[in-house]
Subunit: 573 residues, 2 copies
Amino acid sequence: MSKIIRVNMTTKKVNIEEVPEKYVGLGGRALTSQVILDEVPPTCHPLGPKNKLVFAPGLLSGTNAPSSGRLSVGGKSPLTGGIKEANAGGITSQKMASLGIKAIIVEGKAEKGTYILRVTADDVELIPADDLAGKGTYELTAILKERYNEKAGVICIGPAGEMKMQSAGITNNDPEGNSSRYAGRGGLGAVMGSKGLKAIVVECDKAFDAPVKDKERFKTAAKKFAQILASHPVTGEGLPKFGTNVLMNIINEAGTLPTRNFSRGRFEGASEVSGEKLAEVATQRGGKATHACHPGCVMRCSNVYPMPDGKVCAPIEYETAWCFGPNLEISDLDVVAKLNYICNDVGLDTIEAGCTLGVLMEAGVLPFGDGEAAIKALEEVGKGTPLGRIIGAGAAVAGKVYGVTRVPAVKGQGIPAYDPRSCKGNGVTYATTPMGADHTAGYAVTANILKVGGYVDPNKEEGQIELSRNLQIATAAVDATGLCLFVAFAVLDNEEGLPTIVEMINAQYGTNLTVDDVTALGQQILKNEREFNKKAGFTKADDRLPEFFYEEELEPHNTKFELKEELDEVFNF
Amino acid sequence: MSKIIRVNMTTKKVNIEEVPEKYVGLGGRALTSQVILDEVPPTCHPLGPKNKLVFAPGLLSGTNAPSSGRLSVGGKSPLTGGIKEANAGGITSQKMASLGIKAIIVEGKAEKGTYILRVTADDVELIPADDLAGKGTYELTAILKERYNEKAGVICIGPAGEMKMQSAGITNNDPEGNSSRYAGRGGLGAVMGSKGLKAIVVECDKAFDAPVKDKERFKTAAKKFAQILASHPVTGEGLPKFGTNVLMNIINEAGTLPTRNFSRGRFEGASEVSGEKLAEVATQRGGKATHACHPGCVMRCSNVYPMPDGKVCAPIEYETAWCFGPNLEISDLDVVAKLNYICNDVGLDTIEAGCTLGVLMEAGVLPFGDGEAAIKALEEVGKGTPLGRIIGAGAAVAGKVYGVTRVPAVKGQGIPAYDPRSCKGNGVTYATTPMGADHTAGYAVTANILKVGGYVDPNKEEGQIELSRNLQIATAAVDATGLCLFVAFAVLDNEEGLPTIVEMINAQYGTNLTVDDVTALGQQILKNEREFNKKAGFTKADDRLPEFFYEEELEPHNTKFELKEELDEVFNF
């Protein structure tokens, strides 16, 4: 039943392959990283024909395991030069899993032209689609749904990806058809663009049709897991009520909200762009304060924000509200929504775009706090002007272009919404994850700020290495399952959480995995990714934060980041 | 007598220091690289206060040893992220040596403002000079000579360096006052700009006043060395007659002239931008086909080219004629001169600028062969527009900004005027030198093309590793002496060459060095540089050519570059 679809963009050949024995127990990030390590030369040009792009649903995707519809996308990143896995919600992962698709591997490079890959239960077809070149993701998704199937999952890139901008993301649609669920980070959209693939249309009416060996056992476990999520204050209350942006006021209060390109830890206008404010405005305007990005998600942490121009931005996540808000000293939610919408439509990672605008403001190219200037600058991206190109190339490149020393990026990727000096566990993750600066790779905000899974003082060095290590291992494993990372909030505080995940996997596949096996899987994923990066030329020097975090104190706690050699202990397991 | 001048741009303090024992036997590149290794944290931001800039005359500079007036400039490169030594002719090195200055070390970073360092026999002074901010190098040099001393050596940067563009160079003036002798590569001009230092004015009327212990012995050796140079066909005939650009027709004939951004090895318009043509036009217009860049140079390989607009471009070197000529498919010498002049005035490395324009043409931003478009684009640099900034950031960054896969750069630095596929010895040097792609670091054109110092087939792998290794060691040693690298043509073919250089050093310093000691010095320099780069995060993966040289055959010899792991043998000594 299970299959791998292999698409060669050079020859335009599509092959349906059996799943090799070694890939059977893998899914999501475990599978994408393994395929990249096995098949992509680590030193190849990320935009050349030797790079590959792998789309894989998680092990539990396509079942009614709660919040299990994440789609993993893997490749060599043009932004970091290392291995990349970015994952997204949206409806496509479940459809792929329901069609028995273990992975879609896209390789080679079309010499010219724009193509669509159409996947149905009976057929896989590569279709020339030059008429769709240059389309924004919203229009493109609408056209493809109309052309092929209104219920289709549409994975696609915008003009930024087609222009091979190295912070271009890959999106897919939510249940309402909004093309805004991004595997955003690391520029995998540029890889897709370099290959000439504009979209993948996955036609399947069912969300939960993946084969399950022991249905009763699975049902029991899934129900238990839903209860575990519902009973935790973060996954059962905070996220469902205000979404991810519930963090804005919390992180501001904690004094680790990066403000004015990481110049201080609190922003006076934070509440104006907070989740509470968002819920209020969205509700007033007929939007939604809470929204599920894929069927079966019980946390419903997303939102639908109607903008003054009549368009809808869905969602505004915390990271995006931060990077276009406090990071740029902008306290106008409508400006944030507009910047978010532009990114979604042109196909750009919001976090990277926000970090890049911060660097440009640091350079004096545009003023901090000037929302209109930020919008005008971001609109250049779609036009492909030199300024638009610089923005599309990300924060690290923008820093080089403008000679800026305060550039918040690790391994070429912009640092997200928690200052590493007063959330040091996240600092360890930013520095060491094979992904480049990435909060989701080992989200120490849990123990540092939210006091989930224990407490580790965010302003002290003690315990941060171990905290980040354990979270990175657990995260890699979760990213293999297709479960949303946010389940971790509940799992960290409930000793039945992880066993219940393992129970669901065993029920689905008829396996006898233990919790230790799942930990070992997380470790193996990280080892694979580190191996790829080492071969690509990464060293300890790449596992450090930018110099200014070691030199400048962050208000209000007046802390610096001081971990250096200790960071090399993170992967001692 | 001998001293080190240390300038702290943060505190504005100038210290005159004794030369530490360990630095006494070092000069030029040997000294700059040792100081950088000793004093600069390898992972520091190259444009931050922890980077340093070291100016050092060679061991023989300031004597009448023929062609010994090279000035070495060292620092951490913003372009490569590694250690950098760039050296230049011009008159300043001899003046520094004549004043007993072993090195000028510039450290820290002015918070704001523009400064001039004035050095005389009696005093060293840091002078605020905000009125000179933004000046082009030609005007600036003229002002400073008028303001302080008409015979002064003026080391300076243009607006590109002030704007911290990472391919900005550092120039100084030739005997006629033209500010066009560039320590161009690696962006050290941006380092100078980041520190707020616009120029160093060295006032000394004498070119040959460095102390010499045994004057008679020195005179005999220097005379012998002059004869060795005069009697070799390259240093005694080719270079003095047509300058470095005598290479244009030779390299074209050899089929290794990179044309159209390294797409083929011959250019139909090569003769139109050749040294022969240059000599003809320059002479017709009242310029000079031959010209010494510093007093006492017997090779006189430079030139003075009057442009149609009445300005003078001096010189047009082969590398520049290539990068703006064949590399862009431009066969108009006046266009080449204009592009060269813009770079000299704005303060940009010509090779990097040419490589970058090639990448932009590859990206379709401007058309190949369009001289007017190239001029217009290059004029953006001084204006600091987004396009100008991209050009100033160099080929590798431009490649990232425009998603180009065919980017001729190693360690972030553009590849010069010999295609590595049909001049494989140079390919080995480009890949492995700690400097980033650099033809001068191990100029295998000698044995590959010119049949100087033996013959190694340029299209075959055999012997290239050893050739490059030996040349890199010899070059590092020569770069320590202040001798122009071109003396190597004669030295490689004359067994008395190297002993005569050693004899001059011994006569000057009263030492008892052997040829083996000088070889050991060359090896030590490379080891120091490699050590710095390793600590900065460089690995074997950085010692490779771009992928396309391994994938695409070069016409007319239809060769690829195939050396990979073998490259790791270069530094086995």
